[in-house]
């Protein structure tokens, strides 16, 4: 039996929940598709607190943050399909045709607009060139978190953590609290890649050493990990011969980056931003007519509050989506010192939009300037800027006349 709906949301994590609720509030019929048995996405296993400071003015645990949206979801008539996987999506006279693999078999859904809220995936050991045997005990920080917080199984007794991403540091604390010994956190870069507060409350609080400019080059042991080889790295992040040391451990936990998960969206051959690894979208998250993307699928965020915000924007836009004649766009370009800026383009005419960006390298006091040609649209002074911290500027374009092809540049100048 096929389903017909106005908006189909793929993914029931924070972005998808916000998108579905926002679309329903606009009066749209909404279908929410989730591959796991429970909604909430990665928040289910993020038992630590710190979520929702911007949105709710409180520090909530991950499941608690999700619960607020789940409670709101109950007040709507959104159709929810859990344990359902989207296998294929194709354009169709009704909008989009979605092939669903459910526990009961194949189904089809037809939607006028589709919101991709498919989140991101962790980089694995093979993606960062760790060689040697393939023993048990090498796992990503998210997998370690799943074992510890969902299954109640400690992934190791003596752990080495590679990468100082937030999840890695949070797992260093979590494993220590649960009785494991964390030998150290190793980071190939010269600065931690997670938030400073996590260096403080997850590592310093528990006397867990953070080793910068070091990486894991080899694993020893089979069938279980027994040790790893650690080496110092040069400025090109290449291991320096002669600096190798052996560190005994039974678990190697990787927190080495996240990549938006867009396999499904890529089958539609939409342009992908080579830096964010998410699709090129406009201020509504629209990728192409009727296709929207939000949350970590669009670009990896460090705060769930912003993920929810982008979900709400995309969900509301998807609900009011109607086919339009040729849409005009201005482009947003990452200029001097900026790693990326999202959205990458702006559908015209535009009002007030949140613009997210990251800088390329750590900066002291500096000024971010957003301009079109010689006209400055916005500027903001920061005491410090760091690549791990995504920044957000509200850009008011209601007083600016933009035309197709205009280029808006975001740049940063040290002061």
């Amino acid at each position: 039996m096929s389903i017909q709906t106005n908006v189909a949301v793929i993914g029931g994590g924070p972005a998808g929940l916000a998108a579905a609720i926002a679309a329903a509030k606009q009066g749209a019929q909404v279908l929410l598709i989730e591959r796991e048995a429970r909604l909430g996405g990665i928040l289910k296993q993020c038992v630590h607190d710190g979520f929702g400071v911007l949105r709710f003015g409180e520090k909530l645990a991950g499941p608690e943050y999700a619960q607020r949206f789940l409670n709101e979801l109950r007040q709507t008539n959104i159709q929810i399909l859990t344990q359902t996987f989207v296998d294929k999506i194709k354009p169709h006279p009704l909008g989009w045709k979605i092939n669903l693999v459910t526990a009961q078999g194949m189904r089809q859904a037809f939607a006028k607009a589709v919101v991709f809220a498919t989140g991101c995936r962790e980089r694995t050991a093979r993606q960062i060139g760790i060689h040697g045997t393939r023993p048990a005990g090498v796992l990503t920080a998210g997998s370690a978190q799943f074992f510890t917080n969902i299954l109640g199984q400690l992934p190791g007794r003596r752990c080495v953590i590679l990468g100082s991403g937030d999840i890695g540091m949070i797992m260093a604390r979590r494993l220590t609290l649960e009785g494991a010994q964390v030998q150290g956190v190793y980071e190939a870069r010269g600065t931690p890649s997670g938030l400073p507060r996590n260096v403080a409350q997850c590592l310093h609080d528990f006397n867990i050493p953070l080793h910068l400019r070091k990486t894991v080059t080899r694993c020893f042991g089979y069938p279980r990990l027994e040790a790893v080889e650690i080496a110092s790295v040069d400025e090109h992040m290449q291991p320096i011969a002669g600096t190798e040391e052996r560190v005994d451990c039974d678990a190697l936990i990787l927190s080495v980056g996240l990549i938006p998960e867009n396999e499904l969206l890529e089958t539609l051959r939409v342009p992908i931003d080579p830096v964010t690894r998410g699709p090129v979208c406009d201020q509504y998250g629209m990728v192409e007519p009727g296709l929207f993307c939000c949350g970590n699928a669009a670009h990896v965020n460090d705060l769930v509050d912003y993920v929810s915000e982008s979900g709400e924007i995309a969900g509301a836009a998807a609900a009011s989506y109607t086919e339009q004649p040729e849409q005009q766009h201005a482009q947003i370009t990452a200029g001097q010192g900026i790693m990326y800026a999202v959205p990458q383009r702006i559908a015209l005419p535009a009002q007030e939009i949140p613009l997210y960006f990251r800088v390329k390298e750590e900066l002291g006091k500096s000024r971010v300037v957003i301009r079109v040609g010689e006209t400055v649209l916005a500027k903001k002074t920061y005491l410090a800027l760091r690549p791990p911290e995504m920044e957000r500027i509200m850009l008011d374009l209601s007083q600016t006349t933009l035309q197709e092809g205009d280029e808006i540049t975001v740049e940063v100048q040290p002061l």
């Binding site: 429970r38 289910k44 038992v47 630590h48 607190d49 710190g50 400071v53 911007l54 520090k59 909530l60 645990a61 991950g62 499941p63 608690e64 999700a66 619960q67 789940l70 917080n149 969902i150 299954l151 109640g152 609290l177 649960e178 938030l195 400073p196 507060r197 260096v199 403080a200 409350q201 310093h204 609080d205 460090d302 705060l303 005491l383 911290e389």
Partner: protein, 117 residues
């Protein structure tokens, strides 16, 4: 002068703080919460502890919990040992009290998710 990183919000301000004869001097903070954090950190550091407890429901074997407010940092491992002995058997809602923290410290531990899910 002690260097601290404020953990109150994601900004993570780098603070320099000093407490002389009960008088606090702080620099580097960008809001008043930074001062409160620095004072606590130099006298009695407080943290929110998040963990989970066992349940008797095989479909959701663990329930995420946290301390209702902050607890002394030094009490964290004692609270972990307390939580190791707790099993949830009754349905409850996100925010409901699971256990008191007596006699370790003041406060309660609350569920951070509805149970069963």
């Amino acid at each position: 002068m002690t260097n601290l990183i404020c953990i109150t919000c994601p900004i993570g301000c780098a603070l320099q703080a000093e407490l002389v004869d009960g008088k606090l001097s702080v620099t580097g903070h960008s809001c008043p919460r930074g001062e409160d954090f620095a004072r606590a950190e130099l006298t009695n550091p407080m943290r929110t502890l998040c963990s989970n407890v066992r349940t008797n429901n095989p479909a959701c074997p663990l329930l995420p919990v946290r301390t209702q407010g902050e607890i002394p940092k030094a009490a964290m491992m004692d609270v972990m040992r307390l939580l190791a002995g707790v099993t949830v058997t009754q349905p409850l809602q996100c925010g409901d009290v699971i256990t008191s923290l007596e006699p370790i410290c003041d406060g309660n531990v609350i569920a951070t998710c509805d149970f069963p899910f």
